[in-house]
Amino acid sequence: MSGKKRKLMKVYPIEENCISCRYCEVACTMVHSESQDPVKAYKLEGLKPRPTVEVKGAVSLSVMCRHCKHPFCFDACISGAITVDKNGKVNLDEDKCVGCWNCVLVCPFGAAHPFVERKHSFKCDLCEERGFPACVEACPNRALIYDFER
């Protein structure tokens, strides 16, 4: 076992299993909302999901921050809002972010999203506060798995 690397757990999309039901998007938006209500989260709080379900023909998958081993978003962040913790988890501090959109411009997965009206970016935080990613829990098809970094 290469004991050194396998510290970070993150979410892996399994495109063979995805049926583009978007439950992951709904669950994500809800758990990151004030109201903890899926409808209010979208309609009143104007929140947006951190994963994006992409669909093309028969293929679909849910894409969220990959917590890259070399995060371009971290290189590009001008405010110091993006940090990498000792396990390799990539954090984005929305309060510190100044909305320069550099992370949006360089993220190869399109996983750092702009919240233009509020002048800050946002992305998957692996539901750190909650302890387990809500998208993984919500997926009815095991198209998202929570696993150690490969």
Binding site: V63, H70, V106, H113
Partner: protein, 429 residues
């Protein structure tokens, strides 16, 4: 082993990060004549009374945790590569085993008559931004002339309007951001700024700055005279190579480095705005004074300084206009230089508030512009970086739901399943 870094900004922080990936122990010393590690792209915010602590890029904790000693408020005036020391203006000698020069860029000020008068400013350091802000307050400045419509000039213009000052931008070319953006993009940016109350004068320049001691007006090349309580020269920057020259480091348009960010002088590396960088879109070496590139070059330099051989792949020019209501992003080539390039447009700006453009050569994406709707454009940036074949998806490149499903399945497998996201995995193929 002792690492010394001259400069305390993007490239320096990148270098510290790189060194610490490999070497957790040895001493790192950072030297800067400025008093803190702030973010340059954020200095325009001081004009609108932005809390100054927010300008910090890395705080004391960062330096402590990384075991970095800072020597602040002192300028490095020369390097002696034989005895391997950096000489400070205080007379202090700082010995090094590996040295990084990351002295950034200095503003370019063309010889304009009267540019030594009070009230003429450049805008590339926190000190100069604050001095300008003071001058505005103390002299009750109402009219400002900005020379140059590059990113810095436009940003200053925007923020001056925020605090109610009249602004006129004088530009030699016929449009804003002439070197950085395509024509349509310029038009959109100009409109947004005009709506904000910024005036523009194109195909013209300031020939003379008038006034006894202080600026009172400017005379344009066309002969027109404009009132000016202050002038900001924002024509561009050039690599700050003064210190490097004292060490006998080779300098062309900027400091010359090899693929490992090393200069021609043993144990001296360089990164950031002070170097000339390989532009991956055209294979030319040139100054590319951009924050993300400075960081990445510093990072690669740090790895190499600490003994991990890693090549720098070259930089992709990219920009984000961060102050307007609608974001404006671009990367790579934005205006095709000849008709061997293909252009794909999705211009919905009037109707829906967005504009997308993709530039393709030999079935490879080489540049794009995204205005208004910018979510997930990083996927395009990566297509350029990795030179992925786009022949089957050309029209998709400018649509808002373009995504990873449009990329080869092999790519998704490699990045998403096998987790190949280390620096070496992002190489261009």
């Amino acid at each position: 082993m002792r690492y010394v870094i001259v400069g305390n900004s993007a490239a320096a922080v990148g270098c510290i990060t790189g060194i610490r990936k490999v070497d957790k122990e040895n001493e790192i010393v950072v030297i800067s004549y400025e008093d803190r590690c702030y973010s340059k792209p954020m200095i325009a915010d001081v004009l609108v009374d932005f809390p100054e602590e927010k300008l910090l890029y890395r705080d004391e904790k960062f330096f402590e945790e990384n075991g970095v000693t800072q020597i602040l408020g002192h300028k490095a005036i020369s390097i002696n590569p034989e005895s391997k020391v950096v000489v400070l203006d205080s007379g202090e000698l700082v010995p090094y085993d590996k040295l990084l020069i990351s002295t950034g860029a200095v503003p370019f000020v063309p010889p304009i008559e009267g540019s030594d008068k009070k009230g003429v400013f450049t805008f590339t350091e926190l000190g100069s931004a604050k001095a300008f802000k003071e001058y505005i307050k103390e002299n009750n400045v109402k009219e400002v002339i900005i020379i140059g419509s590059g990113f810095i000039g436009l940003e200053v213009a925007y923020f001056l309007r925020e605090i109610g000052i009249n602004v006129t931008v004088v530009e030699l070319l016929d449009r804003v951001l002439g070197k950085a953006l395509d024509k349509r993009g310029s038009e959109i940016v100009e409109k947004m700024l005009r709506d904000k109350g910024v005036n523009f004068i194109f195909n013209n320049t300031v020939e003379r700055i008038e006034g006894d001691e202080k600026v009172t007006s400017v005379t344009l090349k066309s002969g027109d005279v404009l009132r000016a309580d202050a002038v900001v020269v924002a024509i561009g920057v050039r690599p700050n190579v003064e210190l490097a020259k004292t060490a006998g480091v080779e300098v062309n348009r900027g400091i010359v480095t090899d693929d490992h960010m090393a200069t021609n002088v043993p144990d001296i590396y360089a990164a950031g705005d002070c170097i000339e960088c390989l532009d991956i879109t055209d294979g030319q070496r040139k100054p590319l004074p951009l924050f993300p590139l400075a960081f990445e070059q510093g990072f690669v330099a740090g790895l190499n300084m600490a003994g991990k051989k890693m090549e720098y792949l070259g930089g992709l020019p990219l920009n984000s206009l961060k102050f307007l209501e609608k974001p404006v992003l671009n990367a790579g080539i934005v205006e095709p230089p000849d008709d061997s390039y293909e252009v794909i447009l999705n211009d919905q700006f009037e109707k829906k508030g967005y504009y997308r453009k993709a530039i393709i050569k030999d079935n490879r994406l080489v540049g794009f512009v995204a205005i208004g709707e910018i979510d997930r454009v990083g996927i395009l940036t990566n297509l350029i970086r990795q030179r992925i074949d786009v022949s089957g998806i050309k029209d998709r490149l400018v649509s808002l739901d373009f995504g990873l499903v449009d990329l080869p399945q092999e790519w998704r497998k490699e990045k998403l399943v096998e987790d190949k996201t280390a620096y070496k995995d992002w190489r261009a193929v």
